[in-house]
């Protein structure tokens, strides 16, 4: 007879001294954990609910400008700083952490319409409706700045031209910057005259953006509803696409620099491949009024938009609908938005003279997160992802409280789109097969492409 029975001595399974850690034994046998799927589902549901409970995206407002904020610029070299220009010609440098003005740059006589900082973060370029381009030195942030707010700075240079400027952007790699207004001008830090000027048509340039990957590629949008691509090595613009409505702002995807997203007047954003402007890759729709500004997260996975409907939305770069909407009672028309350089925050500037700081993930925990907490958050995140299609979880995750006006406007838009679709279907049903062709929205909004 051979016999063995389970025998556990106390010493093997308990700690020796009270200072030791408790001993842990694992057995992942599914039979020991019955109803595993039900437990997981309940956890996913709880995670979704907790996410909603902790969703407090608004961090604070930065108050100081006397008129509507018209433009903003990130300082690529300094995470906490952000520049903002207002309609009364005031430019300020803000410290986001303390929500205070660090420095002011007075001088513009009219509205500031464009702001940009060089990649090394030393020089700030501003332009405005007073037909001037101004270069400023950016103060290097030191400790004492925090205790002496209200410091002001003198411009390095002032260049005056005949026409008002609408936009400015600095090259990612180099000393050049481009301004947009009556035409596109290319400037160097050290020259008082533009090195180069481009013109295609007579309409005003609304926004200018350099490609983050290729320093010689430039995209602009103009009030003739066009998006134009320029190559600085050539003497004339490369190509142009005309949409049905005008594009207010452009942003390049920093991780996939052949893609750009256009914030359009018709409430949608359109993602294009700049080599193939004829068709949009994606249409991002959710806003109910014109989209005024757009900025990509440095990760390239999502972008933020600000709209005339007084909301800020965050879209995935490849998704048709926004994942987040931010609004407050006091926030008016949003004219400019920026993603912070660490992809953690969103800053919006609006008509009510305030800059607002939001979290990019509404329920993210601020401050130090312990490793255990972090693992818990990761686990919750993956649970939500796994059960996102289940109606109970989906309902909680998707729900956003909207202001009544926006809710109603959204509903109205959906009804209108539905009605148009229905009409189209009926028209198709009552005409010869193949005669009526429905083009998808991403093709429908393009008028023509000009090479």
């Amino acid at each position: 007879m051979r016999v063995k029975v389970i025998s556990r001595s106390n010493d093997e399974f308990t700690r020796e001294r009270s200072q030791d850690l408790q001993r842990v034994f694992r057995n992942f046998d599914p039979n020991l954990r019955p109803l595993g799927k039900a437990v997981e589902y309940v956890r996913a549901l709880n995670a979704a609910k907790l996410d909603k409970i902790f969703a407090r995206p608004f961090i604070g407002a930065m108050d100081g400008h006397l008129d509507a904020i018209s433009c903003m610029a990130k300082n690529p070299n300094y995470l906490k700083g952000i520049f903002s220009g207002s309609m009364d010609g005031d430019i300020r440098l803000w410290d986001i952490a303390s929500k205070r003005t660090v420095c002011q740059f007075p001088g513009h006589q009219g509205a500031v319409r464009g702001l940009t900082a060089s990649t090394d973060g030393r020089i700030l370029v501003s332009c405005g409706t007073d037909c001037t381009v101004r270069l400023w030195t950016v103060p290097i942030p030191t400790l004492e700045e925090f205790y002496s707010p209200g410091k002001s700075s003198e411009p390095l240079a002032i260049y005056t031209r005949q026409n008002a400027f609408r936009a400015v952007d600095h090259q990612w790699d180099g000393e050049q910057f481009a301004t947009g207004g009556a035409q596109v001008d290319l400037w160097n830090h050290n020259r008082s005259q533009p090195i180069k000027s481009f013109e295609w048509g007579t309409d005003t340039i609304l926004s200018v953006k350099f490609n983050p990957g290729e320093p010689n590629i430039l995209a602009t949008s103009a009030s003739d509803r066009s998006i134009t691509i320029y190559d600085l090595r050539l003497s004339s613009p490369v190509k142009k696409v005309i949409l049905m409505t005008k594009t207010n702002a452009i942003a390049w995807n920093p991780m996939e620099p052949m893609n750009l997203t256009a914030a359009n007047e018709d409430t949608n954003c359109y993602s294009f491949d700049y080599r193939k402007l004829g068709e949009a890759k994606n249409v991002h729709k959710d806003h109910v009024s014109a989209v005024m500004d757009i900025d990509y997260s440095p990760t390239g996975r999502e972008f933020v938009t600000g709209s005339y409907d007084r909301t800020v939305r965050i879209f995935p770069y490849n998704g048709g609908h926004s994942r987040e909407i931010y609004h407050t009672k006091r926030m008016q028309r949003v004219f400019c938005v920026k993603f912070s350089c660490d992809a953690g925050y969103v800053i919006s500037g609006s008509d009510d003279t305030n800059l607002r700081v939001w979290k990019a993930k509404a329920s993210e925990q601020l401050g130090v997160v312990l490793p255990r907490e972090k693992r818990k958050h990761e686990y919750d995140e993956s649970l939500k992802n796994r059960y996102k299609h289940i109606p109970e979880v989906k309902r909680i995750v998707r729900h956003r409280h909207l202001p009544k006006l926006i809710f109603k406007a959204g509903r109205l838009r959906r009804e209108m789109i539905e009605a148009a679709k229905k009409k189209d279907e009926r028209r198709k049903a009552h005409s010869a097969p193949g005669k009526v062709v429905t083009k998808p929205l991403r093709l429908r909004r393009t008028v023509k492409e000009i090479e």
């Binding site: 016999v3 063995k4 029975v5 025998s7 408790q22 992942f28 046998d29 019955p34 799927k37």
Partner: protein, 513 residues
Amino acid sequence: MADDLEAKVKKYLRGEGANLEVLNDKKLKTQLAIREDLYGKSAKAAADVEKWLMPSEGGYLEAEGIEKTWNITQESIAREVDILSSKNQHDIILPDLGPYTVDFTSSGRYMAIAGRKGHLAVVDLKNMSLVKEIQVRETVRDVVFLHNELFYAAAQKKYPYIYNQDGTELHCLKEHGPVRKLQFLKNHFLLASINKIGHLHYQDVTAGQIVANFRTACRSDAMRVNPFNGVVSLGHSVGTVTMWKPTSSAPLVKMLCHHGPISALAFHSNGHLMATAGRDRKIKIWDLRKYDTLQTLPGHAISLDFSQKGLLAYGNGSSLRILRNNSDSQSYERYMSHSFLKGYQINKVLFRPYEDVLGIGHSMGWSSILAPGSGEPNFDSWVANPFETSKQRREKEVKSLLDKLPPDTIMLNPSKIGSFKPPRKKEKPTKEEREAEIEAAVTAVKSTEVKKKTKGRNKPSRRAKKRQESIAMAKRPFLEQQMEEYNSGQKRKISEEVQLPPSLQRFAKRKVV
């Protein structure tokens, strides 16, 4: 070796993967394929690390030569095993207060015992010490631990009561009435009871509300929870077994198992096997996936229990037997047997979790014997820890409350949770479909050849008439159906025939006189 690993991987895969072939969505297919691949990898990783994570091997009892395992006595086993294990063999003789029933905590460290004549006690089996004993001075029919060793419920003469470890009465659950059997659903924190008049009650022990109260229409002596899905099964005196969930007042399953009252029930931990014993001197083992008998054994059983490793114990009178699943013939065969002195009446047999021990409550007290190979050798500290400290216990209580499942997660197949129903078929056919159906029926009639009849009956006009009639006959069921639908729609409208409250009568349609 490779076979062994494969079996282990299969265990961790928790069932079949999704069938990706039927999917049309390419993107979804790729995503799911990646996911399935990940599941496979994680199962393999879990199987690989088993040899380090789970060092202990299970117990066994093997015969040598001509001897048979069922002839090996407890005394001879005791001679072979170590002192620590031989302590697990004991008989406690309390002849005055029996028969006794027993229950173990999920970690197997504590045992609650209840004597029919009011003796309640909690015993710490690790230190072999009595935690507390009380005398309630009335009949006690059943005892069950709640989520941990601090609380237990006892089914007494008129009502069940909840006591804490010190023997303080915390609650009297009057709604349950004179309860026969009690069961506790650990994941759902539900206390289920069946009383003398056949009412099944579910009570949430965290909030205290009665979750469900069903009349089961028949007296039952056996009640067990299927640990796999939380479904409560009742064995009735007419020989049926019914399965219940708290969200439906009709039983999920009703099966006739024996020609006579059912005396005992037990479930395998993987949820596929059920054992029933009836007064018709039969013990049956059922496959719960097919609801079919796998095996019928002769014998009486007052109490049945499956161990964690799948041994089946049944006791009757003063003798008990342990059966083992023979992997070759896929059937339960004799493994061990044990008998007490004449005059002992076994009341309850229960395997102790994570130990090779069988606890027995009988008319003369309680006993425990060694059953090598019955318990899971490796415990998980986060599931059930026999060496739990009070701090760990407190933490686990909070964790398990956070993971408490709502009552509607109890269902026959719990793997359905988190899955989608296939898209529902259209209820009503569209107009075109209906017309097409009629058309098909008419053409079928037209295409049939008409028999040549005798002379006088074979006029062309008659033939045409006959054809018309047959077409009308073919159309008729469809038209009738349409008519019916139309009428039922009409009925829904408010008419004067329907008795309305006087305040609403003026809105009703009036008949034109």
